[in-house]
Amino acid sequence: MRTLRVALAVVAALFVQTTLSPLLGRAAIVVDFGLVVVVFAGLTMGPAAGLLTGSVTGLVQDALAGGVVGLSGLSKTLVGFASGVFGTMFIVTRPVPRYVVFFLASLVDAAILAGLHAVFDARSWPPAYAATVARALFNAAVGVAVFLAVEFWPKFVERRKLGKGRTRVRTERL
């Protein structure tokens, strides 16, 4: 079930990244939704899930983006695994630590990807540190938001259910 959820999350992230980004504006272009899903999977499900999620997500991103297939797959695999290991070693339940994890994961992903491009890809570009940091900040923010949404969504649904129940009881009393 969790695997299916992760798979759906990956599909959703890629859908948002590729289809809805024009509608979401510049933030959607900057944010790597796939990376957010990978780090989320690693933190919540462990290293194996993190690396598998990262591998699949990265491969799909590579396939859709063109160029050498496997560069993003490899970087996100490593990031997903590292996130999983980090999640098992430390308690990351508060927003700030999560923000830091997402932020560092974004930087690591960017660094690995740049290294892989330098090694395997003939096309190279000058490092854009500001853009990388900005993307890491946005990724972290989205990641924390996703965590909050995922954690608060069941409670929200339950409250709504509880709220509907109370209203029905009052109505019956009246």
């Binding site: 290293p47 194996a48 899930a49 690396l51 297939v69 496997g70 490899l74 395997f120 890809d121």
Partner: protein, 279 residues
């Protein structure tokens, strides 16, 4: 394998996934030589396997070849040794033939120079007893050989014929203790008589005390004995002892190596007598 198992072995899974990605990337990226990295890497690995395989197989083949070749070498070695032995024998025979040819040439030259009538003879035997110094030659009375004929060699005087059979003759060497020859020594031409000692040396006796001889003077035949022609080398003075004014001992080293004689010349022409010589 269930998912929990995979999670427990996430390290191996990570390694497998990373390797898979690297292979995937390598298949798409070309090297500097224009060959995909996967192909180049696979070829590099495969070529090392080939190299290792070739080294092993080549080593086995070489070892086997060496073993087989070693057996062949052994047989060949034996054949070569036999051939070498044969060639060494042939070489010795050829050297012997060359040496004999040279000796014969010198004999012919001697015959031409001396103007004497000679007959070449081959030494076919030695002395029956060690004390007597004799030779046997393969020429005898049937060849005109007579007693008291001088026997010479390119090096000098050998001796004289003391017995002549029909087909062989006995030659008394000059070193025989019963042999003697008239001689002259040195530039002073000091006359004397050379006597055999039975050893490999000669004695020069009856030399006048007034005559001056010295060590290393050449001693030649005087031609006064009626046997040996005049002027043939006998040897060189090796040692001189004097007793007062007279010579006590003059030892002469023979010019001829008597132990190595193979070919000799027998002087068949009459040798002038002493008186004729003096005249």
């Amino acid at each position: 394998m269930t998912l929990p198992d995979i999670r427990q072995r996430s390290g191996y899974l990570l390694l497998a996934v990373v390797v898979g990605h690297l292979i995937l990337i390598s298949a798409q990226v070309n090297s500097r030589q224009g060959v995909p990295l996967l192909q180049g890497g696979a070829f590099a690995v495969y070529s090392e396997v080939q190299r290792l395989t070739y080294a092993v197989v080549d080593g086995v083949v070489r070892t086997w070849d060496s073993y087989v070749a070693l057996r062949g070498v052994r047989i060949e070695n034996q054949a070569l040794r036999r051939e070498l032995d044969t060639l060494q024998v042939q070489q010795q025979q050829q050297q012997d033939a060359v040496q004999r040819s040279e000796e014969l040439r010198r004999l012919l030259e001697l015959r031409d120079v001396s103007g004497l009538q000679t007959r070449a003879a081959e030494v076919i035997g030695g002395s029956a007893v060690p004390d007597a110094r004799f030779l046997t030659i393969d020429r005898g009375a049937a060849d005109g050989i007579k007693v008291d004929m001088a026997v010479i060699s390119p090096a000098g005087v050998v001796g004289r014929v003391v017995a002549a059979g029909r087909r062989a003759a006995k030659v008394q060497l000059l070193v025989d203790r019963n042999a003697a020859a008239g001689a002259r020594a040195g530039d002073a031409r000091a006359e004397g008589i050379v006597l055999g000692t039975g050893e490999d040396t000669l004695r020069l006796e009856y030399v006048s005390s007034t005559a001056e001889v010295a060590v290393d003077d050449l001693v030649v035949t005087a031609g006064t004995d009626g046997i040996y022609p005049k002027g043939f080398a006998i040897g060189r003075i090796e040692h001189i002892e004097k007793a007062g004014a007279a010579y006590a001992l003059i030892r002469v080293r023979p010019a001829v190596n008597f132990s190595a004689l193979e070919e000799v010349l027998v002087v068949t022409s009459p040798v002038p007598s002493g008186r004729e010589v003096e005249q």
